[in-house]
């Protein structure tokens, strides 16, 4: 699945970079040309970025080209392939657009270099969730691979994660969201308040969870804990015994006929919900929007135990240096300067820099997506399709209400291989 936005020209990237570097030096020395962007526009630089599909958007590459003159070559893969590529082909990319749990696997292998915080123009504006793990001063730090736990290293050449913020940032956070259960409010017939409701005998044969082991196990853990069967020390890093208990619980529920299906792809989850085969299931936010766009009632139901969250960021390849590195910093600063943030917010994700993103959103959009206020007019997606009509309120409410209630982050477990083995048993059972 390669999504190349623009292919390289005949001239080699490095020769262009050298020209670019010379031009930058000249500009810095003479002060004739103010600011970087013009220079990059002249030198026609290319950055190769790979990552998971969510944020590899053509619109971002087009805008980047227009604003900075940097050509982005994007490659989208699924998250497991992204982790593998990051480690095994470190020279094949300049920017790694990966999730934080992938960062936990990848960074210690030395293929990425940390960023100097002082070179990040918008560092101070970044949401504190990615620095301290707390959205507000009184938030509880969530379980799993919370971004701040893998957000810093001790020094420029260090590969071990720092316990508190330092001057060396592993990745600049870009996109994140909080996931929960999707429901058909017209068919469930009662209020859904907890993850345990998916196990209600009333919904026998009308529930689904996702069949992607690393995420499915987290949803299962949220359900398991909500039913009061177990209390995990850390849902994001279960012991073998905890994995056994969770899988045994799932197998029992499966054999009792609680589940209608296990979905693997976005479309499957949309179809299950839209056709009424399922009334309550694990879901992703854009899938809920897709069901709603068919005119079918569907809600991304906030639950009292909180959300399962995920987040991604941009990391710099270890081989970047000199002018290439400067271009990468320039790109990252542009990324956090607002236009992209507004774009992501309007897609229903969250930007890591809310301050700058706000400048690129209308008051109504900001009110609907971030403040949880009723929409005053039609809410449109970046491509112009109408997502919500006037009066609609976002499920889960404001940014603080949603991201403030994260119970656990997507993660990678030490017992990963064992978990996958047991998960296959669950599917075969």
């Amino acid at each position: 699945m390669t999504n190349t936005i623009e292919t390289k020209t005949g001239i080699s990237r490095r020769s262009l970079l050298k020209t670019g570097a010379a031009a930058v030096g000249l500009a810095a020395g003479s002060g004739v040309i103010p600011g970087f962007p013009t220079i990059w526009a002249q030198s026609n630089i290319t950055l190769r970025q790979f990552g998971t599909g969510v944020s590899n958007l053509n619109a971002i590459a087009d805008k980047c080209k227009a604003d900075l003159g940097i050509t982005l070559e994007m490659t989208a893969t699924d998250s497991d392939a992204a982790a593998q590529r990051a480690v095994t082909q470190p020279d094949s990319y300049d920017i790694a657009d990966i999730e934080y749990w992938i960062c936990k696997k990848v960074f210690p292998s030395g293929v990425l270099q940390p960023m100097d915080v002082s070179k990040l123009k918008y560092y101070d504006e970044l949401v504190p969730l990615f620095k301290t793990g707390k959205l507000t001063a009184d938030s509880v730090i969530a379980q799993g691979t919370a971004p701040h736990t893998v957000g810093y290293v001790e020094a420029q050449d260090s590969k071990t994660f720092a316990k508190a913020p330092t001057n060396w940032f592993t990745m600049v956070p870009t996109i994140y969201n909080a996931d929960t259960l999707g429901i058909r409010p017209d068919l469930v017939g009662r209020d859904i308040t907890t993850w345990a409701d998916i196990m209600d005998p009333a919904f026998k044969g009308k529930t689904a969870i996702l069949n992607i082991p690393s995420i499915g196990i987290m949803d299962a853990a949220m359900i398991m804990e909500a039913t009061g069967n177990i209390k995990y020390a850390d849902k994001g890093n279960m012991t073998k015994e905890e994995i056994d208990k969770t899988i045994d619980f799932l197998i029992k529920a499966k054999q009792a006929g609680q589940f209608r299906a296990f979905w693997k792809s976005f479309d499957e989850s949309v179809n299950l919900m839209a056709s009424g085969e399922v009334v309550i299931q694990s879901m992703w936010s854009p899938a809920v929007a897709a069901v709603r766009s068919k005119g079918i009632a569907c809600r991304f139901q906030p639950l009292k135990e909180g959300y399962r969250s995920w987040g991604g960021g941009l990391g710099l390849a270890a081989h970047l240096k000199g002018a290439e590195l400067d271009a990468a910093y320039e790109y990252i600063n542009w990324y956090t300067s607002g236009w992209v943030g507004g774009y992501l917010n309007r897609q229903g994700y969250y930007s890591a820099n809310m301050v700058s993103a706000k400048k690129f959103m209308s008051e109504d959009e900001w009110g609907y997506w971030i403040e949880g206020k009723p929409a005053k007019g039609e809410i449109k997606a970046p491509d112009g399709t109408v997502m919500e009509k006037a009066g609609a309120v976002r499920d889960g409410g404001s940014f603080e209400e949603r991201m403030g209630k994260v119970a656990c982050w997507n993660s990678v477990m030490d017992e990963d291989r064992y978990m996958v083995k047991r998960w296959n048993e669950f599917i075969a059972a």
Binding site: D78, Q84, A261
Partner: protein, 303 residues
């Protein structure tokens, strides 16, 4: 190739025949070379690579050349594998029996009850019309038919035949078998139709003259002569079902496992050596099944 090199040497000892001999010796090899190269490069080499990789070690990021048997002991030592293989073989057996039954009668009808060859061809082409669309589309089309609020259920409920929708129509083993029979019956029809068309009609007449009833003609003349076609159809259907993952995933709603689906899960988690070991086991099993079929029926009669 050694043979090719030796023969001219022998020919050299007998100069009078030399020219014709060397020609005759090299030509067949040249003629078979393109196919041998293609099969070698695109079939043999990948299979050898799969076998080699199945002994390697791996972690999330990479594979390490090694000679481990753990991939095989993991595959063969887990009850999940056995259950999954049994499940897959069960699907293969059911689908085989159904496609053979349906396929035979469709072919029989086409071969013996349609009088003109032109009409036979037209009807045969009609059989293949659904195959102009993709496998996946034909499979997914069943979902709106079988679903809880699908065509069948809403009709039944509307007519008052059932009080509430029948749940087992979709996302069940029934749905998997139904879709597979739909997808694979033509692979049975084609070879059987082909053998039936080759049966000398005078054999049937002779049987009738000798006083055989319709069933006796069918049982003692037609079915024995159709066996090679049935065997070829069986090979098609069995190998297709054994290797299927999308039908099982989609029609069972992920509730049911198949060997290929297990491999796909492993590959999506980049556990290639484990998937390779599984592939080798499956390959051996399918080859044994095909060998068994060939022992029972001599398909060369067909060719």
């Amino acid at each position: 190739m050694t043979v090719a090199l030796e023969r001219p040497a022998i020919a050299a000892a007998n100069p009078s025949k030399r020219r014709r001999f060397s020609h005759g010796a090299v030509t067949p090899y040249l003629q078979s070379a393109p196919l041998a190269l293609i099969l070698g490069a695109f079939l043999l080499l990948p299979i050898i690579m799969i076998v080699v990789v199945s002994f390697w070690d791996y972690d999330f990021a990479a594979m390490y050349p090694d000679l481990l048997t753990t991939n095989y002991s993991d595959v063969l030592g887990s009850w999940v594998t056995w259950k999954t293989y049994l499940n897959t073989i069960k699907f293969a057996a059911i689908v085989w029996a159904l496609t053979l039954f349906i396929g035979f009668w469709v072919a029989y009808f086409l071969a013996f009850h349609i009088r003109t060859t032109a009409m036979q061809m037209v009807l045969f082409l009609v059989c293949t019309v659904p195959f102009l669309t993709s496998n996946i589309i034909r499979m997914i089309s069943w979902i709106p038919v079988l679903g809880r609020n699908g065509l069948i259920n809403s009709t039944l409920v509307h007519m008052g035949l059932v009080p509430k929708p029948i749940e087992w129509l979709l996302y069940s083993e029934f749905a998997v078998v139904l879709a597979m029979v739909h997808l694979y019956t033509l692979f049975m029809v084609t070879p059987i139709f082909n053998t039936l068309m080759r049966i000398d009609r005078s054999l049937v007449e002779a049987a009738r003259d000798a006083g055989a009833s319709g069933w006796q003609v069918l049982w003692n003349v037609i079915i024995p002569l159709a066996k090679p076609g049935m065997a070829i159809g069986t090979i098609f259907v069995v190998t297709l079902v054994m290797a299927d993952f999308s039908t099982v995933q989609v029609m069972s709603g992920g509730q049911s496992a198949s060997v290929a689906l297990m491999m796909k899960n492993q590959m999506s988690l980049l556990q290639y050596p484990a998937a390779a070991a599984n592939a080798v086991v499956l390959l051996v099993l399918v080859l044994l099944m095909v060998a068994g079929i060939l022992r029972i029926v001599d398909i060369r009669k067909e060719l």
